[in-house]
Each structure stands twice: as C-alpha cells, then as structure tokens.
Symmetry: C2
Subunit: 553 residues, 2 copies
C-alpha cells in the first residue's frame, strides 16, 4: 500500500485551481482596485481573468440577464480568450451567440434558447457551435457541482457594498446556485451591479463568495415574461379553464400547484374569484403556489384564495404589490421579494400536487414538445415539474387520488396536466402523428429526442373538446383512445371512432363539458375577474405597475 | 369586479406574520440583548418566541444537531408552548421525542428516525405523536416553501459575529435551506453557536437572515456517521465490490455517482486503487462524486481517481484532509469544506450516472425497504437519488446505455443499483416474499407503504451470487426471474428453477462472477487499499484524524 501511495501522490499538487486563481487575480491587479473592476476596464480584466478552454457560467436566465458582462465578453480578444465552454440557463441575447461566431466560445450547455432558438439550430448545423447537452434548470444547477464545475461565473445583482456583499432585490433567481458552485471550488466570481451603496437593504449573497464587483454602464436587462394581458384571453380558453377547475382541481382536491406561462393558465387564475367562488371552492383548492408573481394572480390573491406563493424569479412591475403582501410572498427585511430558482424548482417538483402547462405539439401517446421545425428551444424548468417524481414519498389527497391499483405497494402520482387547444394559431394542429422534435433532434445529432413532457407522465389532457383522464388508462391503447377522443379534427382526432367516446365517458376516461355541468355558452369573457391590465392595476389598488408596453391608457 | 374586490380585501391585513413576529420580538426584549439571547435565558426566551400550534423546524439531521436548542425546547413550560408542529430532517435525540410526551409538541413531519425509530412507532401507536408525513430530504425542504412554511427555525452553527453572520465550517448541511424558508416569510430564526467571534473565517449565512444568536453551553452534537472501519469489510463484500466495478461501473462507463453509507460501498471505494487499477480503469470511471467525505475514499483520492466530490454534509475527522485537497472538495476561502445538503441532493438526483445503496429487505419484484418490523425509520435521502429521475433531459454514456428500445422517443435511465448479501447478520433473509414495511405502514396508518426503492426504478441488483441486470427485463416476470436467480437460498431464491439461469445468463439478464472474469478465490482482504482506520490515516499523510472510537492504536 505504502509504495502505491507514494508513487501516486508524489509531487502532485492538490491546489491547482486555487493557484491558478491566485495567478489570475495577480494579473488582474493592474486593472482592479481592491475587489472593484472599473467599468471601462472590464474587457481588459476579462482578458486576464479568463483563460482559453475555461468553463464559464454566464447568468442569463429567462428574466434577469448579466447583460453588461455578456456585452463585455463579446468584446474580448479571441486571440487571448477562446474555446470557452459556456454554461447558460438561457440563450437570450444576441451576443450570447456572437461569442461563438467570434471564436471566443466553442461549446455550450444550456436549458432554454427562446428567441435565439432558430439561430442556435443554424449555428449547430454550420458547426459554429459545439453542443454539450440541453437540460432542465435543476439538472444544469446540479451539474455545476459534479462535472460542469465553473472556472468563472459572470453574474448580475442590483447593488453591492464595499465588502462585495450583494443585494439582488426581487430577482435573486439562480444567482446563489451559480455563485456557490464557483466560489467554493476556487473559481472566480464577477458580479455586475447597477450601483454601489454603503449599506445594503439586505444581503442576498455574502461578499466572501464574490471576487469582483463592476458597476454596469446601465442596469441589467430584465424582461417581463410572465405578464399576460387579459384582453387576449379567448372564450375557448375560458371554457378550458372552467373544465380544469371543475374536472381537475375540484375533483382531485388540488391544494398546491405550479402554473406554466400562458393564457390558458392565466384564464384559470382569473376565474378563481368568479367561477371558482360560485362553486364555493375558495379556501378549499389552490392555496399554495410555486409560481412567479403573475399579475393575473392578483385578483385571486385579493379575494383571499392564496395562502402563499414561492417564486422562481421576480416579475417587472410586481415589485410594490409583492412588497405589500408579505403574508403571501416570500420577502426579506427590506420588504422586497426573495426569489430562488433552484429552491422553487425543488418545491415545484416535489412539494406540489399539480403541474399544468401547455405545448405546441402532442402525439397520439401524449408525448409533447415545444421544439418545432428548425427551432431548438430547449426545456427550461417545465420537465422538472411536469413529470411524476418517483423519489417522492409523502402523500397528499390529490396525489393519492391518482392511485388506480389496490396493490399494497401502490403509490400516488403527481398530477401533470397538459392544456391545449386542438389547433394552434395559424391552423397548425397540436395533435400530430409524430413530433417535429424527432427530426430536430436528428438534425442536431442529439442523443435523444427533445421531448418536453413524456406521455407516460401526463395524467390529464384538457382541450376545448373535453378532458382525458389518462391516469385511469389501463393500457397504452386506452391512453391513445382517450387522447384521440378530445383531439377534435386534428389528424389524431379524425382517426377516432366517435362511438368509442360513450364508453370512455362511462368509464371516466373522458369528460365532456356537459359531463362536468358546464355549458359552452357560459364560457364568456365576462367571467374573467380582470379583463385588462388596467383591471389588474385596479385590483392591486395601484400597487401593480405594469411596464409601458402593457399600458393602454 | 370592483364590488367583489372591495368586499373581499376590506380590512384584511396582509402583514399578519410580520406583525406577529414583531409582537414576539417585543416580548423577548426582556431576555435579549440586541440579537443575543444569553445562554441561561434561552428557555424563557423560547417561551415568548414560540406560540402554541407553531410550525417549528428543529435542525437535527443525521450529522449536525441543534442539541442545545432541542434541550432548551424540551424544558419550556407546556402550559405556555404546546401543540407544536415539528419539522425535522432527522429524529435522532431523546428530547426530540420527549417534547411530544411532555405535550410541548403534537405533530411531526420528518425524513429519518434512525436510532429513535422503535420509539417513534411506539409513540404513534400510543397516540402520543401525530404523524404528518415521512419524506425524503428534498421533499421536506421543498414543502418548507409551499405548505409547511415555518414560524420558527432552531438551527446550529459554529460561530457568529456581532451582526449575526454565521460560520458553519464544514457542516453547512441543510442550514441554508431551513433559514431561507423561515427568514423570508417573517419567521423567527434562532441560531445556537459554539462561539462568538469578531471576524468570521467566512460567511455561510448572512446576518440579515438571522434574528437571534445564542452561545450554546457546549458545542453542538456531531456524529461521525459515514466512517466505516475497513477491518469489518468481509471477503463476501469484496467479491460483490469486484463484480460491481467490473460488471456495472466498467461495463456502463460510469463517470459520476453517489455511494450510500455501508460496508459494501466502502469495499468498492477501497478496491478502486487496487483491483480497479489492475483493470486499467483509473481516469476512465468514477471521477465525479456526490458524497459525504467518506474516509474510505481517501486511497482512491490519493491515487488520482477522483476529480471532484460535492458533499451533503461534513464528516468528523476529515476536516484537515478535506482542507488540504481543495482541487477535489468544495471549500471556502477559509480553506474548510462547504457542504450543502439541498444542492448535493439536487446534484445526486439529476447530475450523476449512478446511485448504489443497500437495503434490509427486498421482495421478488425488487421493491426494497429498510423499514422492518416495529421500526419506522423513514427515508433520508436515498429514494431521492435511488430512482429514475424522469425530469432529466441530458444524456451521458451510462444513462444512454440503459436504453433498450430503439423507439425514437426512447430515453436513458439512471443506474439504480442495490447491493445486498442474500442474508443479513442474524441469518435473516434479505429476499422475502413480502416486505415488513407493508405491516408497519398499516400499523402506523400511513397512506402508502414506506418503500425505500421501488423495483421498477432498480436497474441492477448485486448479491454474492451474481448481478441481475433488471433494466434488460422485458416483463415483470423476467425481472422476477433475474432477481430469483441471484437470491441464493432465501425464500425467493429457493423458488427459482436453476435451469432458467442458463438462459438468463445467455440473454445478459444475469451474470455470475465467472461471467465477469472474477474468481471467487480472488476476493481477498489483501485487495483492500486500506485494511484498517490506521491505514486510512497513513494514506492521508496524517491529515485524517478519526474520532477516538475508531482508533485502535
């Protein structure tokens, strides 16, 4: 033993990362003043703080963007800094991809591409971008501690004090997870801030985790992604929302939930104080939420439906409203929201009864994807919440209600609901024979098809035709029949023998609106608790301050 | 709309939690000095800072215990503080249950009961304890942000400064998750510390998240739970470890993994530098770990096998060794380990190829539990890592290797390995017709049976007889046959027709040692890279300092 021990560790350094960090910090001293990088020296500083081949986390999720740092990164000399392996929750800005064209970066691991999805696919095809993997947020955060440990993190915060303590305000989001992975493995953490201040309203990230602070030339980019204008909610969406409240939330006693982004779920939020109230459901369902501060939840909050909301991130315009409702939202001593994407995803995966989302395509087995022809959009957080978490061991009434066997080892299921109209805008059918994602995956040479939600995880599908209770299906064939029964005149729906629908209804596999006591004519916009952004502002007593683009007055 | 709005929120307060907190802090002023509670006033302070029916998180996981605070809690006047709803990762100390007998607490939500499992079951039966739910760690942390939001958190740290900033040293563990859930929902956070200091080595928890600091009368309890003395590793365990390295880790190209606690996995750790080296596997497998600082991993680290280890918690005696190996472990600027149970569980669930654990009972379908007659031990973190995380979307070679279909929508699987001898100590068979957990669950009136790992999540079972490659089974019947083939002379094994074994071997569903090129006679203790704790100390160059009970010299 001794001999192998001596031969192996003789002369090996165990502080290579720490030594390398010290070397870089030393080189950066000519550009820095203590822990401060002057705004106009950031590009030069990055050129010595980064090295070719580094793994770099660039904070850019679907809301807060380290936009000053990403611009600076795109300006470094590719002769000095190149072949970077970028790790980004979201590819959202032009320069996020420019750095690949310039040869600064080479490889990417990410979660979501959004508006840049077309360009990502094109750059992959052209060999400009080397693909790592596409993840959900939690997977990506997890890998930061395992096999994607960062050399450098470029992050964004609102304010810093002299000691480098950071205040993130409502948009804490994923900053703590990124910083922790970097700071505690001798990586370099560089924070852009909107301003320096003597005293922070609260500390979100301790200064001893931060290496450098740089004041950005303008505040970080922040998008209002979770704002849905009620004016755009259609009566078809209202019908589906009524069916969901009656046929799923009430029926299964759903206490805790996550809503995806979209008009479908906004409609549900806006029907709780009206239709939900008529049904006598206040205080009985939908009490605990893992959710961004959706403006369309304001009427339900004001009407006493909501016990608590934990947030992945903030939402532009909701700052003062949230600060005035600390019994509902998680807030700090400064009064403003504390969000945390990693912890809210954990809660959204394991601690809620139900996830409900929408999709662009669903096949006959119930598999769905938002990846459509030519667009490699990634996953975000939805699959993390939109699956049955088989590591879950605690029960709730809704979870137990999904048990269909009386085997002593039977367990419940998370409710995973897909809510879609049978046709998208532009008359493209949602229900299709085969997902576009299969071809996109092949073109991008992905190891598996980028499926957002797998059919065997889906418990319910809601369309304007009715609800398919997939958890009750005893076979794949039965699951297919239930989906086809509510797929309207799409290719999947047209294959369905309408005579089967009767027996599916009898067996509880399918419910039509009339089975739920809902008349289609009742689904009117007058049922919405707020019909415009203006109404939302009024509900909030003027506390909600929508961004200009949502103002009509 | 306006009328409903006015009627609903008229007169409602949205700051009830904040007001109630302010009221309690006010009442506590007679016992406190700023943010400091004098050691000898803690019981009185708790009597005004807690109120009947509060949800209280008491930090007590399987390593660090807020032992001063739990003792103090057990001394409060049950006339003043009662009907508490306790939330505890682990029920580990006598007074954790005494508070129920005294009427101070009434209900419990927990993850793991360990040494108190017998008493928990008894108290449930006697109606002294009201059961909430049994969770995995991540579920419990998740619920702290959803429907188990704490009123008070009682936590433990090493040091505090004047501003209440906390230093946890290597045992950060779950403190950040508990504090975040409490501090940002106007709960009260009380931290016991071993000492006060002017300047902290680093900040683990910002002071603005903490309400009170109290210096404990003695350092918090800390157990060395992950230390396994190599002297107790048997040659049967070595045989199983060889099979696992050859037939699973090498075969499937396992890069990243989590090991459970136990001699079986310790044996693997100690064979990497010997048997693994002979096979030429160094640098090829087992590079990235989610793991506590197991002393038995020292030889593999020293031999250059290990790229990185992220830790759930610390391990007594490993402090200096870890601090001297920052390239491998996550450490802070002070040089010591930074652990984080919530983030390491996320990483262990989503970002590793393989989980391997052991169990006390397994049924013929592969379902297993450590809950045995009369003992309600709970789950800890194992099920969270020991299942196929269906929210995972990124691929690795090992994960892809579990794909058995060539359906375009097929996906990989996490490797979930159960490693058990066919009989436990005391000659109790591990493979049984029916799990004791079923009866325990019924007796405790649990909604579902407390199964640790479900059979349909298990990809491999290893016994001293061979390996069952369950992921290859095309049916439940085939899975049963493969398990029975390696179940020896247990009730399950005896039902097996040995003639079937040949076809199972041919189809790759079962491998015997000889199929893996392993001779049983090679499985000798001489293969262990360290044969005693003393050897581990030597491998560490004296940096590992085992607790007295593990010292034989």
């Amino acid at each position: 033993m001794q001999s192998s021990k001596e031969s192996m560790s003789a002369g090996r350094s165990w502080t290579r990362r720490r030594d390398e960090k010290a070397r870089r910090l030393q080189n950066a001293q000519r550009f820095t003043v203590g822990n401060r990088i002057p705004t106009n020296r950031i590009v030069e500083a990055l050129e010595v703080l980064l090295a070719p081949g580094d793994r770099v986390v660039l904070e850019g999720n679907n809301q807060k963007q380290a936009s000053f740092l990403s611009m600076a990164l795109s300006q470094v000399d590719a002769g000095k800094v190149n072949k970077l392996h970028m790790i980004m929750s979201s590819i959202s800005r032009r320069e996020h991809l420019d750095i690949f064209e310039k040869g600064i970066a080479e490889k990417i691991d990410f979660s979501y591409a959004g508006t840049q999805s077309l360009r990502v696919a094109q750059m992959l095809e052209d060999g400009i971008l080397k693909m790592g993997e596409i993840h959900t947020y939690l997977e990506l955060f997890g890998r930061l501690f395992i096999d994607l440990i960062p050399n450098v993190a470029l992050i964004a915060a609102d304010k810093a004090d002299d000691a480098g303590n950071l205040y993130t305000g409502p948009n804490t989001e994923e900053t703590p997870a990124i910083v922790e992975a970097t700071a505690f493995k001798d990586g370099i953490v560089i924070a852009q801030v909107n301003e320096l201040t003597d005293e922070l309203p609260r500390v979100d990230i301790p200064g001893s985790w931060i290496d450098f602070v740089v004041v950005a030339d303008k505040p970080y980019q922040l998008e209002a992604l979770f704002t849905r204008d009620p004016r755009h909610i259609t009566e078809l969406q209202i019908l589906m929302a009524m069916m969901t409240i009656r046929g799923i939330y009430e029926r299964h006693n759903v206490q805790s939930l996550n809503h995806g982004i979209g008009y479908n779920t906004s409609a549900i939020e806006l029907l709780l104080p009206t239709y939900g109230e008529q049904l006598g459901l206040r205080g009985k369902i939908c009490k605990y939420w893992a959710l961004n501060p959706h403006p369309t939840l304001i009427p339900a909050i004001e009407s006493g439906w909501v016990e608590s909301v934990h947030c992945f991130g903030g939402e532009v315009g909701m700052e003062q409203y949230v600060a005035a409702r600390p019994d509902v939202f998680f807030t700090g001593r400064d009064g403003s929201l504390r969000s945390n994407r990693a912890l809210s995803q954990v809660a959204g995966q394991y601690a809620v009864d139900l996830f409900i989302g929408s999709t662009l395509q669903m096949d006959g087995d119930g598999n769905s994807s938002t990846v459509t022809a030519g667009r490699l959009s990634g996953f975000g957080g939805a699959p993390n919440m939109g699956h049955d978490p088989r590591g879950r061991r605690h029960s709730t009434p809704a979870w137990l209600d999904m048990m269909t066997a009386d085997d002593p080892l039977a367990r419940g299921k998370k409710l995973v609901v897909q809510m879609v109209e049978t046709f998208q805008a532009g008359n493209a059918p949602v229900f299709v024979e085969s997902l576009d994602a299969i071809q996109v995956g092949r073109d991008a040479k992905l190891a598996t098809t980028p499926v957002m939600i797998y059919g065997d995880d889906v418990t319910h599908v809601v369309t304007e035709e009715g609800i398919a209770y997939l958890y009750k299906a005893q076979s794949l064939e039965e699951r297919r029949q239930a989906i086809a029964a509510i797929a309207g005149v799409t290719p999947i729906g047209l294959q369905h023998d309408p005579r089967l629908t009767e027996s599916l209804r009898r067996d509880g596999l399918v419910a039509l609106p009339e089975d739920l006591g809902i008349r289609r004519t009742e689904a009117r916009r007058s049922l919405l608790a707020a019909k415009s952004v203006d109404d939302l502002v009024e509900w909030s007593g003027g506390l909600y301050q929508p961004p200009a683009k949502f103002r009509s007055w």
